[in-house]
Structure formats: C-alpha cells, structure tokens
C-alpha cells in the first residue's frame, strides 16, 4: 500500500480498525479526540460497535466487559482521562484478559493543559492502578511507528493476556506524517477457551479479579509475574542511532527521543561521538542494551518531557558505574534540539560525576533558565 499523509490519532484509529478491532469505547478528551471521532464514523460503517461512554470510567469498564468475551477491544484517552481509568485497568489486569489502551499524554498534573508531555510515564509504566500488575507499554515516536505498534499491541495483548498501552503524546497525536497503513485484516473467529460466551450446554466460565484467599491470590500474582519475566525476555524493542562508536549516549523515548535525534546529529556534525538509544518498549525496559552500553561509554544523558521518570529506570541499570545526567521539560513544554545539544556539550566538557542525583543538578540548571 502507498504511503499517505495522516494524523497520528487518525492513523492509530484506522490501524486498530484494520487490525481487527471489534469494539471501541471512549470518551472525548483533547489531544486524543480525533481517534474517537474517526472510529465513530468507521466502526458503524463496518457494523462494529462504537460507544461514546458516559465517562472514562464507563469506557474502561465497557472495554472490561467486552474483553471478557475474547473480542479485540480498545479505548483511548489522554492523561486526566487515563487517571480515571486506573480502576478498570487494575481489574482487567487482575482478570488476566487482553485489552489495548492508547494514552495521548498531555501536560499535568491536574487539568494541566493540552500540550504534548510524557508525565504519564510513572502511572503507565510503574502502575497507577492498585495491586501487583504490569502493562506492556509501547512508545512510538512517529506516525508510522504508531501504526505498526497498534497492530502489535493487539497481538501482544492476546499472546500474554496482558494490557498493552500505546503511550503517545499530544504531538504524535496531532502531527501529520506519511505512513503506510496495513491491509484490512479479517475479524477473529475463534473464541478463546477462557472467554464468557453463554454456556450453551458447555462448562460454566466465570471471569473475576476477586480472590479472597490470600494464598490463592498469591498464586495468581506469581503467574502474572512469571508471564512478565517471559515478556521481559521476548518483547524488548528499541531503536539505536550512531551507537557503534559512541562515547556518550542520549536515552529518550517517543517525541523526546526523536527531538534528541536532531540534537545528536548536530553534535555529530561537530565531531562529538554521541549516539541515541530510543526505547520503543518502555515496559519491558531495554535493560540489556543499556547494560552493554554502560560497559562501553563515558556517560549518559536522559531526555524526557517530564521530571525524570524513565531516568530512574536508566539509573537502576547503570547503578552509578557511569555518570548519568538528565534534561527534561515539563508541563507541556517541548524541548528544542538546541537545548539538548547544549546538554550534550556540557556532558562532553563538564566535570562528570556519579555523585548526587542528576535530577537535582538539572533542576538547578532549569531554574536559571526559566526562573
């Protein structure tokens, strides 16, 4: 199929539909709304259910119900709406059924604003909902990658009976880029052996997240964790740029990652041996490549559109063996490449340290800039 110029939100909606999305439930919120709007037209055209729910609470619980039948279902929202969905996400995780969520992150906390941000990293990657669970989190950085990750999201969700979240931000949602959409897939016809479907003479199936007996609950927890280990083994994805001879490595995901690419290229033009590691799965986190780089490079710079959330995951791998610095913009402010280039220069010229916390040093620098 030929490439077309398409907006991120619309592209994800259409890609989901073509991946065999059987029902969509959502609630309008900027900067995610085009996704819902696109499906509000396309799903009925194809005779598939589309419901604009009464709230994000309603939407995620409709997804919960529909997912219990084994159908391919999804919802989408943006940060404040996703906060409301946390209850349902925990229940879905606790019931061990597949579902797909798209979070088009905006500036926060609170009502915040509608500009692009990455401040949902912790609530998505480290669990905003209660209890012991993980979600698989895909963080594409372009419209094409978002399209590709959408199809993958359903496959992974069903393979592991896990929730898969596609972590976007307002800019990927609103940006138009050329992308090639996948061909239309036929709808699934098989009903999984765990799904409710009406017994029709067969055995009774009950899907629930309740487990009043702690040892039995723990067995379930263990099962979830074992599956997570399997996911960590098999599903790590990342993209690397100029890493072969890199002495310095920038780590950034999604939009922050691609903005960093511009800075890395500019630094390379000046002869600085710097590379970029862009995690595509932020959960599971690409620990092995980071471990390998820790042995090879002089220092890391983590770049995010938040206060340093993935930074902690990087630090857990690097464990003080190499200096890690941080640069972030928050609240919907998007960093420009030259800001990151300045940080790279400082990394190369500055006194490298493994003492203290990179966030403290960054805050001190940031205060001077935006004071």
């Amino acid at each position: 199929m030929a490439k077309e110029l398409i907006k991120g939100n619309t592209a994800v909606a259409e890609a989901a539909l073509r991946a065999g999305l059987e029902a969509y439930f959502g609630y309008p919120i900027t900067p995610q709304t085009e996704l819902l709007e696109h499906l509000s037209a396309r799903m009925p055209e194809l005779g598939r259910p589309f419901v604009q729910a009464e709230s994000e609470l309603g939407a995620i619980n409709m997804v919960y119900g529909a997912a219990c039948t084994g159908k391919r279902v999804m919802t989408s929202s943006s940060s404040p709406g996703v906060s409301l969905m946390m209850e349902g996400l925990s229940y879905i995780a606790g019931t061990e059924i597949p579902a797909v969520l798209v979070d088009v992150v905006r500036g926060g906390p609170g009502l915040g604003n509608i500009a692009p941000a990455q401040g949902d990293y912790n609530q998505i990657v480290h669990g905003g909902g209660h209890g012991d669970y993980h979600m698989i989190v895909l963080a594409p950085a372009s419209v094409q990658e978002a399209v590709d990750m959408t199809g993958l999201a359903f496959d992974l969700a069903e393979k592991y009976r896990y929730i898969v979240t596609i972590l976007l931000d307002g800019s990927i949602g609103q940006m138009m880029e050329p992308a090639e959409l996948p061909p239309m897939q036929p709808l699934k016809t098989d009903v999984p052996d765990w799904a409710v479907r009406g017994t029709n003479g067969g055995e009774k199936r009950v899907l629930t997240s309740i487990n009043l007996d702690p040892p039995a609950q723990e067995v379930m927890n263990l099962r979830l964790m074992k599956r997570w280990q399997e996911i960590e083994q098999n599903e790590v994805r990342y993209k690397e740029y100029f890493l072969d001879d890199a002495e310095y490595v920038v780590v950034g995901f999604g939009t922050a990652g691609r903005i960093a690419l511009s800075a890395v290229r500019a630094a390379r033009e000046k002869g600085i041996k710097v590379g970029l590691l862009r995690p595509i799965t932020v959960a599971p986190f690409p620990k092995d490549i980071l471990e390998e780089l820790t042995g090879k490079v002089k220092a890391f710079l983590v770049v995010e559109m938040n206060s340093g959330m993935m930074l902690e995951d990087v630090r857990l791998v690097v464990r003080g063996r190499k200096p890690v610095e941080f640069f972030g913009r928050m609240g919907g402010v998007v960093p420009f490449p030259d800001e990151i280039l300045t940080e790279i220069n400082q990394l190369v010229e500055g006194l490298l340290t493994t003492e203290g916390h990179p966030r403290d040093r960054w805050l001190a620098r940031l205060e001077k800039t935006i004071g």
Binding site: V51, C68, V196, T208
Partner: protein
C-alpha cells in the same frame, strides 16, 4: 388417615440454573429469593445457556457462585458499563446485572444513567435494602430519613445527609428506559409479582425494546437489627411509603408485550 401409594406431587424444586452452592447470605435476607426468581425466569425462557451475568460489589459479590452459567464480576458501580461492553459485542446473548443500592445508586449512578439513557438492551435486577450490607450496615443512598445506620448513628438527618434516591422514579424519566418497575420481596404475593416483572424485564431485552430495570425492596435483618419476620413488616411499614411499589415506565412497545 389412609396412606395411598400415590407418588408425592413435586411442588417445589431448585432450578438447575441455581446450582448447589450453600447460601452465604444471612438468615432472612431476600437475596436468595431474588436469585431464585432470576434462575427460574431464565430457565422458563430457555435462556440459561445463552446468558452472561454481571455481578457487582456488595453482598451479592459472589452471585456468580450460585448461578450455573457464565458470569463476570464488575468493579463497584460499573456493572452497567461492563454489561454494555458484553452486550454490544454479543448482541444475541442475554446480559443482566445484579446490583445493590450502594453499587447502583451511589458509586454507580453515572454508569446506570448512561446505560439507561442509551437504551442499552440489558436487564438490571436492583436490590434496595436501604443500607450497605456487605460493609456492615452504613448509610446508603436509599437509607430512609431518620433511619439509624452505623454511619448515621443518630438517624439519617436529611439536612446534613440528604434524602433517599428513588431510583425507579429517576430512571423512568429517561427516553431509553423501556421498562422500569418497583416490586418487593416481603411476602409471597409480592414475590410472585416480582417474578413476573423480572420475566418481563428479560423479555424486553430479548425483543430489543430498550433498557429494563426491576427494583426490588429487600430485607436486611442483620443490619436492620430485626428478626426476619420483623424485617418483612419493616419493608411494608417503613420502606414502601418512601419507595412506593408500581410501574414507573412501561413504554408503549412493552405495554403490548404478552408475558
């Protein structure tokens, strides 16, 4: 008295759809009656194998242990949303929620109003026993003015704690509601009427006529601190004046329905 060898006539039998689980409900509680009515109706309609139930959070959180067919368990208040999800992807299945008053009329008010306003083709069995049973008898949205509960120890003061929510009346104002009635489980006559209403509510779904809800006034002797017999009287004397039995919404299509 002459004993004949005529076999005894079976007049009462456990519906197969109800399974053999021993009850965990308190003595004198009418949840069991409501369960039985649902099971009987589904059996009479030959819908047992075609039904997916949605349990809620409250005393009936384990409703799925009693019913011998597919079930899911919703988060507190979200059963109508979950039922919506199921019904929309499996429109030929019979889908119902079984919810208490705290679940439906307090934390889940948004979900039930949303479902009713959309005219979701689901059936709702709504148990109103004027308190939060599972957590030990706190004030519910349905608690009567002056009624003592563990969180209104001097009696519900409407000035501070508001008035009871009349769910059937409220939902009957919505265009998507096809069948909204209130019945009671406090005596055999009302139980028979309740069963007929439940049957109608499922028929409404089967025929695609709209959203259907049966509110059932139900006893809670334990938290009311009454004997089972006193509890039945309490429904009649105290609850029914605030929650009058009756048909609150019968759409014209439902009025034509022969059950």
């Amino acid at each position: 008295m002459v004993l004949t060898d005529t076999p005894a006539k079976l007049v009462y039998e456990r519906p197969e759809a109800l399974g053999t689980t021993v009850t965990h409900y308190c003595p004198g509680c009418t949840h069991g009656v409501a369960h039985r009515l649902v099971a009987e109706v589904l059996e009479e309609m030959s819908e047992v194998g075609n039904t997916i139930g949605v349990a809620s959070v409250g005393c009936s959180v384990f409703a799925y242990n009693y019913f011998d067919f597919d079930f899911v368990e919703a988060a507190h208040g979200r059963a109508p949303a979950m039922a919506t999800g199921i019904k929309r992807v499996l429109p030929d299945k019979t889908v119902f929620t079984y919810q208490g008053d705290g679940d439906l009329a307090s934390i889940g008010m948004g979900e039930i109003v949303g479902a009713a306003s959309r005219g979701e083709l689901i059936t709702v069995v709504f148990i109103n026993n004027a308190n939060y049973g599972m957590t030990g008898g706190q004030m519910a949205p349905t608690t009567l003015p002056g009624q003592k509960t563990t969180s209104s120890p001097t009696g519900r003061d409407v000035k501070r704690q508001g008035y009871p929510i009349q769910t059937a009346e409220l939902l009957s104002t919505l265009e998507g509601s096809a069948y909204i009635v209130r019945r009671s489980l406090h005596n055999s006559r009302e139980i028979r009427r309740a069963k007929k209403a439940i049957r109608t509510a499922f028929e409404v779904q089967k025929k695609g006529l709209g959203f259907a809800l049966v509110e059932l006034l139900s006893t809670c002797p334990t938290n009311w601190h009454l004997t089972p017999v006193e509890a039945r009287d309490w429904i009649e004397e105290r609850m029914m004046p605030v929650f009058p039995l009756g048909d609150y919404k019968i759409s014209s299509a439902v009025a034509d329905l022969k059950v």
